[in-house]
Symmetry: none
Subunit: 214 residues, 2 copies
Amino acid sequence: MKTRILVVDDQTVVREGLVLLLELLPGIDVAGACGDGEQAVAMVAELRPDVVLMDLRMPRMDGVEATRRIKEAHPDVGIVVLTTYADDDSIFAALRAGARGYLTKDAGADEIARAVDAVRDGASQLDPAVQRRLVEAVAAGGRPRRAGLPDGLTRREAEVLALIARGRSNTEIAGDLFISEATVKTHINNLFAKANLRDRAQAVTYAYEHGLVG
Amino acid sequence: MKTRILVVDDQTVVREGLVLLLELLPGIDVAGACGDGEQAVAMVAELRPDVVLMDLRMPRMDGVEATRRIKEAHPDVGIVVLTTYADDDSIFAALRAGARGYLTKDAGADEIARAVDAVRDGASQLDPAVQRRLVEAVAAGGRPRRAGLPDGLTRREAEVLALIARGRSNTEIAGDLFISEATVKTHINNLFAKANLRDRAQAVTYAYEHGLVG
DNA sequence: CGAGGCGTCCACCCGCAGGTGGAGGGGCAG
DNA sequence: CTGCCCCTCCACCTGCGGGTGGACGCCTCG
């Protein structure tokens, strides 16, 4: 069973080029093509393709809105965004709207094919640069590291705290910082007093909540 | 200039197989290989590879922690996780720790090569299923709320862990859960063993990294 | 039925974490 | 110069946290 695709792009050359390109690929069958979001929504309802290859910048209704409406009415239809731009706004808007793939127009036919296959199988295939953005969003997502030291902690105390949050023992911290264990204890006692902490477990929580680690 | 790679996997067969496999690839040069996280950290400092191919489940120090330390000391070294498991916990923990690629062991040589290239060039290459998870996390808007418990923790153990992460002492936890302190200790000892933790400070870190709190 | 996992509990031991009270040197500002 | 803060270090004590090796009832599953 070939994968049935709907191509949506307002630029005629691009659209027709894509159609030709896609029909050369084994396992892919171009069910239709159109040039704006409104038509796309209508044609999905009519043709019921497996996957929609969607441009973002289009007249009358943009790709994000079209994606949203299509996913609303037909959640089982996979949508792969294929666009020139890969800025964060476009990426996140499209993914939030329900797109499962995101490629730039630098992509080759094989990449498009991979993306279509992945999306049809319920997976995802994104442009490597887009993957990077996502990874970064996830990595940063959660706790943006704040700059200043909370509660008047000294630099050294914060340093010790960070090591505590890394699960290091006092002896290990002493080794890490080339100071004696006694000094480590002093710093710890001081920072406990300043931050109103009882033990290192609370200290770790404190470190995470204040973005000193994470 | 060939891309220099460090292979990290505790299973000898897998590790040596990977080395052979990778050396067949043009453009890749295997700089070294080792079997646990501690060695990995040391070898990165010594060999300065371009990319580390990292397993997650390993003795002595797991891949997430090793990734974190490597990225801390050498932010320019790219890390690609190659593991059997693709659960949300592992994925997000690894990415948060600084991994830029994530593949499962179903990946073929070509996929590994693509991932290595992408990461060396500052991009990302993830397993399609992993991409899907990320897309869904983004689409869901918020951060991933994990359902399953990591490392085979029982519900009760996770409950105790959550209280530890909130800075509660054993006596307090006993009070919170209406059980004896002895029971609390038992749960703690069990979860320490399962998650390979040494003390409650490490437990708090673990809880945060696995999204049990935060 | 028996095996095994889970949750509950106990006694005992030990070490490191945490608290107290000091002391000395270097840097920076008033 | 003279505080004052930061970092460094010491001795001592206490107790909670963590490890060991059990025990028992309950449930599920083969």
